[in-house]
Subunit: 331 residues, 2 copies
């Protein structure tokens, strides 16, 4: 069996996770890394060719079947996606939910023109959770789907909220853990289909390292008033030392669930719930990206092209197993 | 928008559930019921044409786009499936797991010859759980998926085990509730990937109404020794009156979960879990069948034919929503 050849674009947390995930796949292999910082990446990666991401002729020489784009949704993907899909099938985790229709349209046009497949916005949310929301709604008409994050005691690390804390003057470092409000989850499970405000579903816990001489009380007030990020939520601010932050609140743990409840027939309660828990959030995204890279190549080989989401992809295309094995082992 | 026209084949618990589910779908309508017992069904259903299932010319007059086969896996579907798919797209919940590859082959040949789509073996297990097992394995390479049934305190009603109890001489009526062993679920969540025997995962609770003069002790011993059904499990037998059975242990509640755990990267724990809970098990199956009937018609209209499982079907085809709505609401 010829292995699917993968180009990894970007070498941050997700890119490193993709390399680790590819090593676990029986049918896939990495053929190179494309980066804006070729020298930096070359210094830490041996045995894998590293090429500049803006030189298509360079990465095309590597003969990849698909590129996994591991950049960010804010600055990298909106430019990189439509550009790279001209040359190769792509998979990305574009996660700015409200801009997905617009990103889909841009990627669809570029992918169709090049006759490539571009799987967009896949990871665990958007991605698995999008699929579970769609399935819950299809199997339980009338059910609203609710997403909760940070179910475990430690909560889930939010990179976006951590970054927001670090923009505040006087903050040397910070990490933000999201907690689901468990009574809110119970309300959904009970079939109440409640109309929540954002602050009813989650609370936010901040661990902040102050710069020398910073005013703790003023910073706490500034955090709690930050619109969008913290103002709508019950927010706790804990001041810690850099050592505490690095030892007690390290890593990228995250978890969450999609819950939906409705009735079948004449008032028979029905609830569906999907949960996932990851010690490493970027590695979770990486694993989902890798399975979708397999699907992208298979779809393109079958003659398909254009932008795709997880909602377009039959599960068999994500699996390394043959259809016969799937029928026998998983049906 | 022209509605998808559905023929319901069989009028048992699942067939009645399909009628109730169709009433909730914005884009589908029932055009008739096909049954072996036309007179009996006509007596209880008004306003819907009822035709004999063995007279194709009769049900073809109804102009259905798809037939939802609501018969049993033991006697009905192996005959009915390959016969009916000659005339119309079909959807069924064939649930004899070990025979699925064989049933798939028979349905695939018949469906391809007739250029129809036959969605087989869909409900919650096989069906949703098959999908979740496949996804868990694709996203967490190396994870084993485990299915548990009867998570709630009351447990889940097993029709097959209830039927098995009723075959015993001296048993007037009986119902069997399956209970998951919660410590076994915890072992899976902890990432132990344990090698369970069947009896490690579930226990069985029987509620039995005796015929007059029956020997309770002998019947309890016979139940506990029944190979396959009860012998491998810790089994409790409770003798109750018919009134107790009908009032305390009524209905068709069932629930279950698929759990899988593994690691990402270098030893980062990862767990995924899907749960569903249904006050009415046959209505759950009915709701899943109805969503797949929508997909069957769409696939056939797009030129596809042959046998399909839930593993072949992109989620967007199951949903009544447009792709634009899905991108906006669920991605």
């Amino acid at each position: 069996m010829e292995k699917i050849k993968v180009l990894v674009v970007g070498y941050g947390n997700v890119g490193r996770g993709v390399l680790l995930s590819l090593a676990n796949q029986p049918d896939m292999e990495v053929v190179g890394i494309a980066s804006r910082s070729v020298e930096r990446v070359r210094a830490s990666v041996k045995d894998i060719p590293v090429v500049p991401v803006d030189q298509a002729e360079e990465f095309l020489k590597l003969g990849a079947d698909v590129a996994i784009l591991c950049g960010g949704s804010k600055n990298d993907l909106p430019q990189q996606g439509p550009e790279l899909v001209k040359y190769i099938n792509t998979v990305d985790s574009f996660d700015n939910h409200s801009c997905i229709p617009q990103y889909y349209a841009a990627m669809d046009a570029a992918a169709k023109a090049a006759k490539h497949v571009a799987v967009i916005s896949t990871g665990w949310d958007p991605g698995i959770f999008s699929l579970e929301r769609t399935l819950a709604n299809a199997f339980l008409p009338g059910a609203r789907s609710y997403g909760f994050y940070g179910l475990s005691e430690a909560g889930g690390l939010s990179m976006g909220h951590s970054d927001a804390l670090r923009t505040i003057k006087g903050v040397a470092d910070a990490r933000q853990f999201t907690h689901a409000v468990s009574s809110a989850i119970d309300q959904v499970r009970n079939g109440e289909n409640p109309a929540f405000e954002a602050g009813d579903m989650h609370t936010r816990e901040c661990f902040v390292v102050l710069e020398e001489g910073a005013n703790a009380a003023a910073i706490e007030a500034e955090i709690k008033a930050m619109p969008g990020y913290f103002a709508p939520y019950k927010t706790t601010v804990n001041f810690v030392t850099q050592e505490e932050l690095d030892s007690k609140y390290k890593g990228f743990p995250h978890d969450g669930c999609v819950v939906a409840a409705s009735v079948t027939g004449k008032g028979n309660q029905a609830t569906v719930e999907y949960r996932c828990k990851w010690a490493s959030n970027p590695e979770a995204t990486a694993n989902v990206l890798v399975a979708h890279a397999r699907a992208a190549v298979r779809m393109n080989k079958a003659g398909d092209c254009g932008a795709k989401t997880i909602l377009d992809i039959p599960a068999r295309l994500l699996s390394p197993l043959s259809y016969e094995e799937l029928l026998k082992k998983f049906m």
